[in-house]
Subunit: 461 residues, 2 copies
């Protein structure tokens, strides 16, 4: 089945081949999950198998995803093609291709689809697998709406189907909105696919610089919607809107975004002397783009001055809500970290009082706290190591540290002249590209999933 | 008492005045502690009083410490003088003065003495106060050798006297060693004062660039000795050497330093083609200087290439052992963070097992874990905020982020052309200097001590 499709692909060379390939990818994903299901008939997927399956899928799929870039008009090297496919499937959105405007539409759509499939894939993994794997504190979401059986795969299938409906609806509505503000169908579809997945691939080298004006507002709205926990939309569909409004993660996220937009709008107006609408539009678009980890650029915000540069670096380390397509540290971990500070201050005040750390009204066990701590530590250590390794390929400090952050947090653009919002990853060395590829994978799977596999303990039984 | 001394000082203008001033400072420190003791007669110092006393001492003393810089040959502005004094008393070692080589010896000695007193002060605070205050996980050191009574101040006095003896002995031996390798008495004494306090002020603009060769080895040895927990030396004096060798914090610290020295020696030899002795000497000196947060520079390591720059940035965030004069995150917190990852991996492997996080054979309570987490979060958040504020004064990204790190971790030099190992803080704006001054204070007092005071809860009772 695989070989004829590859043949088709090579013959078609344009649209047709690419679409067959898309079908191939979908079959493969389905096939892997089906295979895993078959293995797990009657019994739950073991923890080890779940780790290997999750990591395996994200290592293997980019090879297939890379084929169109090698045989297509881009004629990319294996490194570039795998980088681009990984950047797609992890929803990072860093690109090694120059001249996007001149690429065949099939290839552009392929890139967008990689992100779209990667986005839905990660929501399912985050909701179905990670809480079971107790990774990065995700176990606090175990008792979420979907906690029906204890088996991993039946839950995964159920979650996937419900979430998919929401995901498709959001994508369709987003496409229509983009068309409504004047974008052509092809651009609208592609940007809808990469907005809802917070992926950030564009059809233009100038990214949203080519669509300044109303499309920026549409993008901002849908990037925010894509950063909320998708389980809330599923609940909304079944008629319960209350969880959507009572979710403290959503509330904190919206407050942070609003605060940053007000700050940067003010900064643009007062410091840069820009007009209110333009300041507000650029602020809301770029803040949303970076904090959600989408990574569209409508302008080189490095020209705004040193403050925005630093702000954009740090907000990339925030991320959206858990259970969305967003990567990075994510709001709920910051909530837990700040709860720890609050509890700490209470304890200092009343040394003999007993204070438990609470989240959403439930008390949070030591298990969750120490796994959030493990996540944050791994994030910082990975950032440090990746930065050192990138600098060893000859890159300067800013490019290394922002590139490492942009890969680990699946943002896309970094800082500086090379990989900043006005640049891309084309000129980096192959070594740097492979390092970043590894960074995207490790970051996308919440660090611990990949790293656990490299422990002796994992293989002992 | 104060006025005549200030008169003396202004008349003397050189050595004499400065030494009177030193006496004044010592009297003041003693006076404050005595005052506090008097208040606490018969009852323990309240938690609130301890927080206020600790912060108060580090805010007020620099004003007195700054006087010689205003009236002395430097004729510094209040901003510069307070910055320099705070940089001294927090053992940061960032300087705003050019032309150190031409300053009167009295002023140079004054700078060194500020660091030396600041160093002994912080050890006492870290050992006597912080465990009681449950700040940043320091409560795991509560059951250390000194846990005699439960009262804060009697312990403080006892600890201060025992530690002081060790501190003085180390300083004298260090001075003699510097003299032994050919440094003059004055340079030897000053550098001993700032080595044992891991402070990093030098008598020369070129810092250790003026003493290349054997003095670098002496400095490396004493910076390492100054980064170990001083309680171990006290135990050694009373005849028990075992704790010194069984302390896992010391072991991890020495392993990390050794690994880094081997790596950078190799890098210098292979990548830069330098000779073995020179590579080793520069590696051990500069690694030790930055990881202990001393901040001496013997060479501009930014010229070695991008890898060392990145490495030096990150090792500044490591720090030495708790209970020494070192600042930054410190080894024991990294140990706890990595224990959390290890425990996490165990839990993933055996979801139904019960695993407690252990340190030095004792199980670590949730209290300690969440306060380490609070510390790390506050460190990263403070770093982010300070970086943004510094960039708002017009500084570039590298200067802002490395300056913020160098202040919070009390290292001294940052990266880049302005505040890097070859530069100093003289040209920064007054606003930037005050921001950095605040950063040094907050970092020196383990972040929470200062921040707790700004909470409403603190003032409620
Ligand atoms: K992205
Ligand atoms: K220092």
């Amino acid at each position: 089945m695989v070989i004829p499709l590859v043949m088709d692909l090579m013959a078609g060379n344009g649209h047709a081949g690419v679409f067959f390939e898309a079908g191939l990818l979908t079959c493969l994903t389905g096939g892997l999950v089906a295979l895993a299901s078959a293995n797990a008939v009657g019994e739950r997927l073991s923890i080890q198998q779940t780790f290997l399956l999750t990591t395996g899928v994200w290592v293997v799929l980019p090879f297939f995803g890379a084929i169109p870039f090698v045989v297509g008009a881009t004629e990319a090297s294996v490194t570039d093609a795998y980088f681009e496919a990984m950047s797609g499937l992890t929803t990072t959105g860093a690109t090694v291709f120059n001249g996007l405007d001149d690429l065949p539409e099939g290839l552009l759509l392929w890139r967008s689809m990689l992100q779209w499939f990667g986005g839905i894939g990660i929501i399912v993994v985050a909701m179905a697998f990670l809480p079971e794997l107790r990774v990065g504190g995700m176990q606090i979401f175990r008792s979420e709406a979907f906690d029906t059986s204890g088996k991993v795969l039946p839950r995964a299938a159920e979650i996937a189907s419900r979430i998919s409906i929401v995901y498709v609806i959001l994508t369709v509505v987003c496409t229509l909105c983009y068309i409504g503000v004047g974008m052509g169908f092809f651009d609208a579809l592609n940007h809808a696919l990469t907005s809802i997945s917070t992926g950030g691939f564009s059809t233009r080298d100038a990214s949203f610089g080519a669509f300044q004006g109303p499309p920026e507002y549409i993008a901002a709205i849908f990037m925010i919607l894509a950063s909320l926990p998708f389980v809330r939309y599923v609940q909304l569909m079944t008629g319960t809107a209350r969880p959507l409004f009572s979710d403290s993660q959503i509330r904190v996220f919206l407050i942070v975004v609003t605060g940053l937009v007000i700050f940067l709008t003010g900064y643009r107006m007062i410091v840069n002397g820009d007009n209110p609408e333009h300041s507000f539009r650029e602020a809301i678009f770029n803040v949303t783009s970076i904090i959600t980890g989408t990574g569209y650029a409508s302008v080189d915000y490095q020209l705004w001055g040193p403050v925005p540069v630093v702000v954009f670096f740090f907000i990339g380390l925030v991320g959206g809500c858990a259970g969305s397509t967003c990567c990075s540290v994510k709001i709920f971990r910051y909530q837990l970290l700040f709860r720890a500070i609050e509890t700490q201050i209470r304890r200092i005040h009343s040394p003999h009082g007993v204070f438990t750390l609470k989240y959403e009204g439930r008390s949070v066990g030591e298990d969750v706290i120490s796994s959030v701590m493990a996540f944050v530590t791994m994030f910082v250590v990975s950032l440090g190591i990746l930065t050192v390794l990138l600098s060893a390929t000859g890159l300067d400090f800013v490019t290394s540290v922002s590139g490492a952050a942009a890969a680990l947090a699946n943002i896309g653009p970094g800082l500086g002249d090379i990989i900043g919002p006005a640049g891309n990853y084309a000129t980096l060395s192959d070594t740097a590209k492979w390092l970043l590829t590894a960074g995207m994978l490790v970051g996308r799977l919440e660090l611990m999933v990949v790293l656990v596999i490299f422990t002796a303990r994992f293989w002992r039984s």
